[in-house]
Symmetry: C3
Subunit: 314 residues, 3 copies
């Protein structure tokens, strides 16, 4: 099989073979970051633009390190320093960056769908680093990579995604990816934070934590945004913690002993997860971060390869 996509926009549109190919490529790249000399010449002389319209340390740093470890040149553009303050539209800015003959644009934006719209407008590869409440494909890929690494497979694994499903691009990308890979997905959270018709995505839905954890092999605990409370969607963080927060006590009562604990970070300690659980033996939160660099190296590499082959054929 060959990778042919020139963009990575979301997991909804990928098929199982494509997801497997990214995960396999990431596995082969993972070892590079554990060497003293963490660098291969694979993307030497390629230009990768990191275009972030929302503040981000983790995802931006992860992509920047992935680019550098592949020997690509990277360029940071963030909103605060951007000419967008001059009233320029994002479309104009992207076309300008394109005109500088860059190869890949990694974009994060608060509006859903922006990466798709831009991919139709410009020639460089677009990689979605999170668009609004819609998709965050590299996060879901690193989550799946971690599950596969820990449990040996994704097919048939029971994964529960816990928290604010409605506003979570992490949840959405995970559901699409996990379902394609044959996992059984349960979403769990307060009714106000569960989207209507979410069952149509092929998931089991519950607003009861006990039911949510009962058969789970993996729980992916989402970050609670404090803003939701202001919007009246959450009674209080304390009440949320009581009903849905993951603590050792609740795990003892409701979950398998070896339940794998995941979280996209950063955690709100004591809200959706206690520090004790976040740092427990079955927590793989930091391994997710390590795997994130490998997955992003894989995505940058595959997309760049596909572009080269398209050009050669022209």
């Amino acid at each position: 099989m060959e990778w042919t996509r020139g963009d990575l926009l979301g997991l909804e549109e990928l098929d199982r073979a494509e997801i497997e190919m990214i995960l396999d490529t990431a596995a082969s790249f993972k070892e590079i970051s554990s060497r003293p000399v963490k660098k291969v010449p694979t993307l030497r002389g390629r230009t990768i633009v990191l275009f972030f319209f929302e503040p981000s340390t983790r995802t931006r740093s992860s992509f920047e390190l992935a680019a550098k470890r592949l020997s690509a040149d990277s360029l940071n553009i963030s909103t605060s320093t951007s000419a967008l303050s001059k009233g320029e539209t994002i479309k104009d800015t992207l076309r300008n960056i394109e005109a500088m003959q860059v190869d890949i644009i990694v974009i994060r934006h608060s509006s859903s769908g922006i990466p798709w719209a831009l991919s139709r407008l410009v020639a460089p590869a677009i990689i979605n680093a999170g668009d609004g409440c819609h998709e965050h494909p590299t996060q879901a890929l690193l989550d799946m990579f971690t599950i596969k690494e820990k449990l040996g497979k994704i097919e048939g694994v029971n994964v529960t995604i816990l928290g604010d499903i409605a506003h979570s691009r992490v949840a959405r990308s995970n559901i699409w990816g996990l379902r394609k890979m044959g996992a059984n997905v349960t979403v769990c959270g307060p009714r106000t934070l569960l989207p209507r018709d979410i069952e149509k995505m092929g998931v089991i839905v519950t607003d009861n934590l006990k039911d949510g954890l009962k058969n789970a092999d993996v729980v992916n605990v989402l970050r609670i945004q404090r803003e939701r409370q202001k919007a009246g969607l959450l009674p209080s963080l304390r009440e949320y913690a009581q009903r849905f927060g993951i603590s050792s006590e609740k795990l003892r009562q409701f979950a398998r002993k070896d339940l794998l604990i995941m979280h996209p970070g950063p955690t709100n300690p004591g809200v959706e997860i206690t520090p004790e659980v976040a740092e427990s033996k079955t927590s793989v939160i930091l391994e997710q971060v390590t795997n994130g660099v490998a997955v992003r190296m894989a995505v940058l590499y595959l997309v760049a390869q596909a572009r080269d082959e398209t050009k050669e054929e022209e």
Copy 2:
């Protein structure tokens, strides 16, 4: 001929042979950015500081990519993160950067003349990336490069610069450069935005768009700064658009069919230019951006070469 200048401050002080040398060098560098591996070892191990006192995505990114494609090390310093917040003067900061043994300092500053003052104070090469309302030499060089590429020559070409001439460093550098290269230059705009005595620069002056476009081969449409309106120099953006905004309608009435449309970007759509014209067949706005990287590579290279030769002779 040999390039001997250790700085690039403005076009007023360059002679025709020097401008031609930059344009020829840029032509030889342009191809590099279209390769898959966009990188040559020319300036490996040189340190280039990008010192921007005004926000800028385009110019900063263009210089940063030019530096990276020549394999130089680049260092970003912008006002917001700078120690200047501690009350340090720009002179002190520059001397400190110099003491770190950097080779080239690319500087943008809101005060006219700053690059000249600094070039007398410090040893590294100074490249002016825009000083106040005074000069923006690399912008004018990329404009001339684009004209030459499109029309085969600059000598004898009729170029109209349209808009806020009085406050535009782009206009000023273009006038100096184009006149030296033998182009015929017309400046056109409302009386309040035309500097007194501008005729002395060797240009034709008009406040009538029809006259401005009549014989033009090229129109370089300047960005209108909304601040001018507050200062009482512009009646309203709408009235400006009606009298001086470039639309398909006005082009049909007043201009040659193949009039080359240029703009330094970012455009104010519907003010100085309609989106339709900005994206029309004879618009070369994005090619200007592409050429900007090549021109900046040429300038970095020539200035670095001149410095090496001076040092060898010492």
Copy 3:
């Protein structure tokens, strides 16, 4: 002797042989920055994170250039763009950076002791780039390097540190380092800015400038923070300048003719030092900056080496 420390936290904990090893290594690296190609492959493929919680142009740039001249990959993280705005703790952020398999984290933070706390929590090397009012070891090392370069030795040299001793991490690191190297240290400043019990650090204390300069071979003039005045610790900057500011007049009256003038920068011209003195023949303020890059290259190199050897033994 071999370097074995995997961190550089402060000078209090180093012994004389270790300080000498850093200074000797820096001497061998200094020449690199004066070459046209300022780059050696020593740390190729290592990842160095510059994690600054306080604004800094000089120290950040100096470390970044040191990293680049050793061919390491560097990643900038500053508070303004950091996920810490999401309420994340510094410990969590550091653990995440660690999980990306970085080699060295250079950290500046306004709280004393943070680098020590973090070095116990994470595996990458921690280099302290200034913690609160506590230590700034690389500044003191470059100060000592400059003294040794200028006077041929540190042992027996009379160094006076002048100004706000109480709040100065530069003073504290210099005192520890200089005393270990056998220099005689005098601290001089207004009573309100001299810490109680400072004599216990093995220094002579005076609040009289004449006494402070009498036998000095070197004066290290500290920056006066205007904030101290608000806190009631300084009568007025003008009065400070009159009593403790270094001027040509006072040097003529009180000091040796060849007194070496040092300052960590940036100066407050006319407060703690006059511009005339700062730019005089015996001022080595800019040479300190040049030496700073060499010292930081040495520190990055030694710490990285020590880590490699530890790993090999495992």
